[in-house]
């Protein structure tokens, strides 16, 4: 937990922004979680989502591999796996372009943890899935389109 807090501090604006939002009463008390990257999870477009991680415009890299089905029959449960073959991978973020909140999950990998995570996400509709990877201080990404036959949001 403390590790994450340090990361947020390092990320610069993250914590300050959160404090501002909390002060302005924009965040409900139960949401005022010191380490959680509110800015990122509230991002409504890809540029804002990238900016929330100070990622700028990540370069597409063949060393970042997304594993998803090409067609997801049930958008409520779409398996997503991300493998990074880049040395010193420290962070993996999964974003779904056409979801109301693009950022699905962010993983911080301490040294010794293999850059290979799998999880399951919801997808409202057919969309590109982005994997943004921070390795050795630089950001890289890969994207893959997943077709959704039955949406997982709303419903």
């Amino acid at each position: 937990m403390n590790h994450q807090r340090r990361d947020t501090l390092k990320a610069g604006s993250g914590l300050g922004m959160l404090g501002l939002l909390a002060a302005a009463g924009l965040i409900k008390p139960e949401m005022a979680n010191a380490a959680w990257n509110q800015t990122a999870f509230d991002a409504k477009n890809m540029d804002a989502a990238f900016a929330a991680f100070n990622a700028g415009k990540p370069a597409e890299s063949a060393d970042v591999v997304i594993t998803t089905p090409d067609i997801a029959e049930n958008g409520a449960v779409v398996p997503v796996g991300v493998v990074s073959n880049l040395p010193k991978t420290e962070q993996i973020v999964i974003m779904i372009e056409k979801n109301p909140n693009m950022v699905a999950a962010s993983f911080t990998l301490p040294e010794g943890t293999v850059a290979d995570v799998q999880t399951r996400v919801k997808m409202g509709q057919t969309s590109d899935v982005y994997a943004v990877v921070k390795a050795d201080g630089k950001f890289y990404m890969a994207k893959k389109e997943v077709k959704v036959t039955l949406g997982g949001c709303g419903g």
């Binding site: 937990m1 590790h3 994450q4 139960e30 949401m31 979680n33 380490a35 959680w36 990257n37 990122a40 999870f41 409520a76 449960v77 779409v78 398996p79 796996g81 779904i96 979801n99 109301p100 909140n101 693009m102 950022v103 699905a104 999950a105 962010s106 993983f107 911080t108 990998l109 301490p110 010794g112 943890t113 293999v114 290979d116 995570v117 799998q118 999880t119 399951r120 996400v121 919801k122 997808m123 997982g152 949001c153 709303g154 419903g155």
Partner: protein
């Protein structure tokens, strides 16, 4: 109190593979109930996995993560019998920690 997580951790050739299945509604805050009222958001925000008190993975989740979240990852090191603990916190302040021995 939320139901227990199901955690499997297996060490093989110096790498420990961990699979976690959490039990959580992961409500997005965008769905409506039958009377048209919004169902408040309720989802896991943070997760930390520790191997013998050393953090091996920390994660932040948004509401886009599926109901009953599944997570798999691998880390170097870890031996049979070592402790592996996973802790999550949700946006309502609930939390849960479960611990297993690496097999």
């Amino acid at each position: 109190m939320a139901s227990p997580m199901r955690i499997r951790a297996a060490a093989k050739d110096g790498v420990t593979e961990v699979r976690v299945l959490m039990s959580h509604v992961m409500e997005t805050g965008q769905r409506k109930d039958s009377s048209g009222a919004l169902i408040p958001a309720h989802f896991i925000t943070e997760l930390t996995a520790k191997h013998n008190d050393k953090v091996v993975l920390s994660a932040e989740f948004g509401p886009s993560v599926s109901t009953n979240p599944y997570l798999a990852f691998k880390f170097k090191g870890g031996a049979k019998g070592d402790k592996l603990a996973v802790n999550w916190v949700d946006n309502k302040g609930d939390s849960r920690t479960d611990e297993v021995q690496i097999a």
